[in-house]
């Protein structure tokens, strides 16, 4: 019996405003507890919210980037519940009139096929503080630094059909918010958080199955693992004739499993009603158009441009634009060396490998775009071979000298002097009489071996094309 998985994601993105959604307090991550909480954040009596216009603009930027309807009149509501890290006893959120209405984004499968994923809505809301349950002698500590930080909650349609699609959607979302520069999207620090609604149904069914909501997923990898665990769990229950309970489940990454939260928390009645301390936000077309005019080039547009302008394959372009930082790095490398294909290979190959291995961001790369551009330029003008370039690249990690200086220092300049190459080849022919004989007997494959010997003898510095040509000439002369 085959099953279909149905997934919808609710993603909370922390907007990177300098101050909170309704107060002037700073939002820096990692400050001493309760040093970034003012009278409003503490919910002192008599305090009132004042809307942060930067957060509004960021939300509108996002809406335009996913081609969504923008709410010309959006309304904040109070979502009521008691929790010690929620100082007012309600969270200010948006229920019926969100700032961003329905839109969509496109994901690309591994086979290159595309799929459009619907986004139901995105709304602004304030974050809660943090409860700290360690080191307080059996009591809990409350840190309100995060309380009131602006969030954009982005709700997808149940359009995702596998954990892999869910990850692709989340990565695309991440890429868009990074391009828009509205959040750092750091999942480990919680500035991008994901809840997954997961259900399964028999293939061909049109009704949705009973879903569970998985919370506490804080990396792309865990999204995939948590969903896969949950799908297996649900399938086993249903195949055993059981029923799925609609509930909220926590993902435990240490044990790689989802666990039921207390059912009490599911039964909350939040008693939403319009926040009377704030007027509805009314924006006009002129505002929307001004924000639109200021939008940066987005990943899909940039990818199309890379294909058209640089002749890259859609796959390479897709890899490059998946991260704004990588795409910018790449463009700078091309600017310097003038060779897009070589640049793409180096950025997505050696450089990305180096960064991933060390867990570095592009901004932290020890090899700047300028230096990588200079390196590629030396391949292009035949100063060094691609192979030698890898040696130079390795040296560049620790040696901040210029590319040319490193090539000089290490004596890695390519040998293009025909005389020098000829004497190299004479030496190879002299020291490998058996292989030369085999070649003369018609065994063409030996040619590659002899080339390899010549390159080795030159420590890789000989120009490979010249070596090829001269070796063939000399062997032919021998035969002649």
């Amino acid at each position: 019996m085959s099953w279909e998985t149905v997934i919808g994601l609710e993603v909370h993105v922390q907007l990177s405003t300098r101050s909170k959604l309704f107060s002037g307090t700073a939002t820096r991550f990692g400050a001493e507890p309760n040093t970034q909480a003012n009278i409003y954040d503490l919910a002192l009596p008599g305090t009132l919210p004042v809307m942060n216009e930067a957060a509004l603009e960021m939300a509108v930027r996002f809406g335009l980037a996913i081609n969504a309807e923008i709410g010309k009149k959006s309304v904040f509501d109070r979502k009521n519940y008691f929790y010690p890290d929620l100082p007012k006893g309600y969270q200010v959120s948006q229920l019926h009139y969100p700032i961003v209405g329905s839109g969509s984004l496109t994901i690309v499968h591994e086979d290159g096929s595309e799929k459009v994923i619907g986004i139901t809505r995105a709304h602004m809301e304030e974050d809660a503080g943090k409860s700290l349950h360690e080191d307080f002698h059996g009591m809990s500590g409350i840190d309100l630094n995060r309380a009131g930080t602006p969030l954009l909650e982005i709700v997808s349609e149940p359009d995702l059909r596998s954990a892999k699609e869910a990850v692709a959607y989340l990565k695309k979302l991440h890429s868009i918010i990074r391009y828009l520069d509205i959040s750092d999207g750091n999942m480990a620090q919680g500035s991008m958080r994901c809840d997954a609604n997961v259900s399964i149904r028999r293939a061909g069914d049109t009704e949705l199955g009973t879903r569970t909501e998985i919370k506490n997923i804080n990396s792309f990898r865990f999204v995939e693992k948590a969903i896969n665990f949950e799908v297996t769990r649900q399938r086993e229950i249903l195949e055993d004739g059981g029923r799925i309970v609609q509930e909220t489940r926590l993902y435990d990454s240490d044990r790689d499993e989802t666990r039921s939260m207390r059912s009490k928390e599911v039964a909350n009645d939040y008693r939403y009603f319009p926040e009377p301390d704030l007027l509805p936000i009314v924006i006009d077309d002129a505002y929307i158009e001004a924000v639109r005019a200021d939008l940066p080039e987005l990943p899909d547009q940039k990818g199309e441009r890379f294909v058209a302008e640089f002749g890259l394959s859609p796959y390479d372009a897709g890899v490059l634009v998946s991260s704004r930082d990588m795409a910018q790095f790449f463009e700078r490398v091309v600017e310097i060396c003038g060779d897009a294909k070589l640049s793409a290979n180096w950025v997505t190959g050696d450089l990305l490998g180096l960064l991933n291995k060390n867990n570095w961001e592009f901004a932290e790369s020890p090899i700047s775009a300028e230096r990588l551009g200079a390196l590629v330029a030396r391949i292009k003008d035949n100063t060094i071979s691609g192979k030698i370039a890898k040696t130079v690249f390795e040296s560049m990690i620790d040696d901040q000298d210029g590319v040319d200086a490193i090539i000089d220092k290490k004596g890695l300049m390519q040998v293009t002097d025909s005389g020098a190459i000829e004497s190299l080849i004479d030496e190879v022919i002299a020291s490998n009489p058996d292989q030369v004989q085999q070649f003369r007997d018609g065994k063409e494959a030996v040619f590659g071996f002899l080339i390899g010997q010549a390159m080795k003898l030159s420590q890789g510095k000989a120009n490979p094309a010249q070596v090829n040509q001269i070796l063939r000439d000399k062997l032919n002369q021998l035969s002649g």
Partner: protein, 488 residues
């Protein structure tokens, strides 16, 4: 100097006839002698008052022009005052000292007014008799067996008994106007948004509005000049130019069209009160006004709608009093739920708990449409009634309350108490300005006349009230309590 208005004392301060320090000592002395009889003040801040008075005298000597400079003032204990306890009439905040000043407080401080203390009030402004205060009821200086009205009962009693020259109040459903009527003084609720709510402890955010409680419409205008204006810290305050409210006080009333709502002269209205108001209307005719009967057909729904909207907002506004960060916390909580339950059970009084329950119920899943949404629809109908009326008339006049002040403990049924505000509540739901001024007596107790104008027509309303006070002397009457210097 007893019984003098802001306008009169301001002149005396400038001629050197008295000083702010002398005035302040006089009022502090009166408070010491008679506050225990009335319980109008929760907190008296003598030291700060005298320091402010000294500073005011220096400013006056330097030619300070603000008419409130050096004038003794009392704030309703709902306004946050830096360094002075702000209780909101509740055990929950009995020891709460605000680290900041409300905008209204800041403005009076900046203008050089002298804060004598904080006045008693119904707990979280929930009440119409001042009997729900954790700090005990306030007594009416006209008859200390009677209530002063509420929730701004402390401010009203303090002004009436001359324990301050002027006071601030707040009005969510009549809480300035009804106590002003019961205490025989002038109480003014401006349009919603005219005065900043920043630092004013919220009861029902969409209805709460601060306003002056004082001895005359002219004083109300002087206070409005200090209090009104846009505040970037209150998103619901209105960006509208603030006129000089004293400028048009003397405008003649020729041609003024006064609307008499039939619904405000119907069953339930005390005969003495009705007579006083009808006499007042005749006075207006003498001043050149014409009287026009009007209808406010949805007025009878106002109390019901109010007791859904206000408790609903209150249920959320009061969630922050959870014992976690400040205010009352129960002894030795065993866990979080225990702390919430006991803190709130012990920290809030019965009326507050009643309204939190009502509001929570009205917002609950399955009831929202029947209660909260319906109440908001009624609210729009009520506003429309007023808009229709103001196409025919300039102001609407009627009684502030169905009767004069009642005895302490007389209204034990909550619904009977809620009906006290039947003439005033619609004005809050519609966000309009309203004023209560003295208009006569019923068996020795003051009767208040209620007047309402269109949105932001504060200056017009004050002009109408002032001209009435020019022609009558009801506002100049004082309770015997004052001349007797208390009970002894």
């Amino acid at each position: 100097m007893t019984g003098k208005t802001i306008a009169e004392l301001s002149r005396s301060l400038r001629t050197g006839e008295t000083s702010s320090v002398e005035l302040t000592r006089h009022y502090l002395d009166r408070i010491k002698r008679v506050n225990s009889d009335l319980n109008a003040y929760i907190t008296v801040c003598e030291e700060q008052a005298l320091a402010q008075a000294e500073a005011a005298d220096k400013r006056l000597a330097g030619g300070e022009s603000s008419p409130v400079c050096g004038i003794p003032l009392a704030h309703k204990d709902i306004f946050c005052t830096r360094g002075i306890t702000t209780t909101c009439g509740s055990r929950m905040l009995a020891n709460f000292v605000s680290p900041y000043d409300a905008t209204v407080v800041e403005k009076f401080n900046a203008a050089g007014a002298v804060t004598l203390g904080k006045t008693n009030m119904d707990e979280f402004a929930m009440g119409s008799s001042n009997e729900t205060s954790y700090f005990g009821p306030v007594k009416n200086p006209w008859d200390i067996k009677r209530v002063p009205g509420g929730s701004s009962g402390g401010s009203a009693a303090a002004v009436a008994a001359d324990l301050c020259v002027m006071a601030t109040g707040t009005d969510t459903g009549g809480s300035i106007r009804q106590p002003a009527a019961f205490c025989g003084i002038t109480g003014f609720k401006p349009s919603y948004g005219r005065i900043s709510r920043f630092g004013m402890i919220a009861f029902a955010s969409s209805l709460d509005q601060a306003g002056p409680i004082c001895k005359s419409a002219e004083d109300a205008a002087i206070m409005m000049n200090v209090m009104a204006g846009l505040d970037p810290r209150d998103s619901t305050s209105v960006d509208l130019a603030v006129p000089d409210y004293t400028a048009d006080l003397e405008q003649p009333l020729d041609g003024l069209r006064i609307g008499i709502p039939r619904q405000h002269f119907a069953a339930g209205l005390n005969a003495d009160v009705e007579q006083a108001i009808r006499d007042g209307l005749q006075e207006f005719e003498k001043l050149g006004a014409s009287l026009i009967d009007i209808d406010l057909p949805n007025n009878h729904l106002s109390v019901s709608a109010y007791y859904v909207v206000a408790p609903a907002e209150a249920s959320a506004n009061l969630s922050r009093y959870d014992g976690v960060r400040y205010g009352y916390r129960c002894e030795n909580p065993v866990d979080l739920d225990d702390m919430y339950k006991r803190t709130r059970s012990e920290g809030f009084g019965d009326e507050v708990k009643r309204r939190i329950l009502v509001g929570t119920y009205a917002l609950s899943a399955g009831f929202y449409d029947a209660y909260y949404r319906k109440a908001q629809q009624i609210r729009r109908l009520i506003k429309q009634d007023f808009l229709n009326a103001f196409e025919q008339v300039d102001v609407i006049v009627g009684p502030t309350s169905p009767h004069a002040a009642f005895e302490l403990g007389a209204k034990s049924d909550p619904v009977a108490m809620y009906l006290e505000d039947i003439y005033t509540i619609a004005v809050n739901l519609a966000g309009l300005p309203g004023i209560s001024i003295p208009a006569g007596f019923s068996k020795g107790l003051p009767v208040g006349m209620h007047m309402v104008a269109g949105d932001f027509q504060e200056a017009r309303l004050l002009n109408v009230a002032h001209k009435f006070q020019r022609a009558t002397d009801w506002h100049l009457r004082h309770p015997e309590f004052n001349s007797g210097e208390g009970l002894s």
